[in-house]
Assembly symmetry: C2
Homo-oligomer: 395 residues x 2
Amino acid sequence: MSGVKTPVVGVVGGGQLARMMQQAAIGLGVPLRLLAEAADSSAAQVITDTVVGDYTDLATLAAWAEGCDVVTFDHEHVPAGHLERLAADGHQPRPGPGALAHAQDKAVMRRRLSALGIGCPRHAVVADPQAVADFVAAVGGFPVVLKATRGGYDGKAVWMVHDEMGVSRVLDEVPAGVALLAEEKVDFRRELSALAVRSPSGQQAAYPVVESVQRQGICVEVTAPAPDLDPDLARQAQRIAMRVAAELDVTGVLAVELFETPDGRVLVNELAMRPHNTGHWSIDGAVTSQFENHLRAVLDLPLGDPTARAPWSVMVNILGGSAPTLFDGYPHVQARDPRLRVHLYGKQVLPGRKVGHVTAYGDDLDDVRARARHAAAWFEGQPRQRLGLSRPQPD
Amino acid sequence: MSGVKTPVVGVVGGGQLARMMQQAAIGLGVPLRLLAEAADSSAAQVITDTVVGDYTDLATLAAWAEGCDVVTFDHEHVPAGHLERLAADGHQPRPGPGALAHAQDKAVMRRRLSALGIGCPRHAVVADPQAVADFVAAVGGFPVVLKATRGGYDGKAVWMVHDEMGVSRVLDEVPAGVALLAEEKVDFRRELSALAVRSPSGQQAAYPVVESVQRQGICVEVTAPAPDLDPDLARQAQRIAMRVAAELDVTGVLAVELFETPDGRVLVNELAMRPHNTGHWSIDGAVTSQFENHLRAVLDLPLGDPTARAPWSVMVNILGGSAPTLFDGYPHVQARDPRLRVHLYGKQVLPGRKVGHVTAYGDDLDDVRARARHAAAWFEGQPRQRLGLSRPQPD
């Protein structure tokens, strides 16, 4: 393009989030510049301006950022000091280090949310077995949840402990120097997620609140909007997301994962400051996808309409299973359901790894959910087990 | 991906059609391999596996194709002999040379459609002034349309001639060896377009018939579906597209541009065998875009549902105008209409060049059309003229 230069958006991290950002960036006509961990990573396959390098190496990160007008992220693992350096060099990390601290350190997040009066599970930073024992006593006994304050994702570095033996095992496992957070095990009805998008100038958009289902700490299914959610509670969840985004000065997508309690409250479980698995449905199910709105936000452009295009959308993750390849799943899945939307990430299929997702949308929730579940199970090569049938799949 | 290899789809031509194919390919998890005319061409910006080279050079084309499992096209200009060579080498050009001959040579196309009994404007291949004069007499006088049988696109190599002087000018302009086709000037109510998608195994899907508006031979606006179109005529147009696709053994998207006559017939104006400007609305307006269905077809995968997601979609092309850059148009356009879909092609802005398009969709056609027209005009920097207002835009 001629005239005023179109800004280059840097993305740190070559995972599927950066890959799906590229689909949106192509439409917007905005070039992405990627810093990827490997030349064959999911996003590096589809972004021409890619540097392969280690984002934890400051020199690598700073040199790469020279080619970017603004920098955003596929993950939250860039060290705070590195983010400060990017900011000092004028590369505008979005979100910035002040915001990202709350996604990088669960203790920092809990302190801040509690100070804001936002409902959280009871929690305490615990440095030794006695501190854990005190917390267990305070919440009325086991089980409790222990989390490393730093470095976790997708259920990693989170443990449900049922006795003192379990506590000892966790304390042995956690690296020296990583603090532990103890949290009460919340008796929840279900998990919800509220996504807000915020730009540097303070515009905000909130997506419909969704229901998510986790298995072994990994998001496996999302229903948009959350079925039978009390409208007041939905608004409350959206307001929490927008308030947290504003108070923490988040730029781009903020995902607030919530527990809905049986007595009709919501408690914040986790925060993520990037496009989020609970927003993938928006690619096919919303007017503006979370990926496009994330880019519009980091560029401080007006945000797009986040509302749903269909009464129901259900997204089911494809996890690496027994099928050796995903492409082979197409003939059956596409012939069976010509309206289904499939997204494959170009990743090697490893057991339990997120390698793609499917989205179905329509008027009838049961039908939409069954379509999405069937397709994901087919790609995984374990349709019978996933669908809850007992017989193993024939060879 | 492990196991059976995911096929690589080669695309000849680095224009916006290949660029938009890449958005669909990313979702499908299918790698594209591009042969582009320049390193900064629209598609080369977003496809990592790109070879820059001249597709008219057989050695270049054949060497590039070694890395492809199947080959498709951004344009129809690859010479027939080169396509035969790709086929002989096992690279599966889709569509193949037998089909593409009808998109490459308008005389071949007219002969074939006439043999099939499909309605066309009256026409004759004309080699000299006397042949033109005979044709003019046969159709009742000037004006008539003269077309180079080969090498035209976007209104290039098509002339409306009003007298013998005009005939002489065209005959002088056409390169030696290029035959001329004379066609009657059809008195049409409007122009329609019927898109069919066909796979090698013979599956077919037909998109809703759309109305297109051309200006100086360039498609500027498309309304899906064509307003007030007689349902029988719509079915007839879809059947023509599907019959032509089958008879000519087309693989991928076939666009049939049609004249709707005042007496309620449709006559075939042009054929295109690739994703087509009159199908761009499908990215945001249909369940499955023409780009995804084109890829599914060339891979012989089951085709996706081509139906519309909204009652009305209007696509307006952004042509290079007085605005020096397109990115500058975002703040106004996006703030004014958060539901609008914008697609910029990363091309240098040159007067009259297709540099992007916008799509609006919704329930009220007048509103949808006004939104799309306003946004395109704004990006062009000539909102007042484009909207039909008389005052020139202030500096």
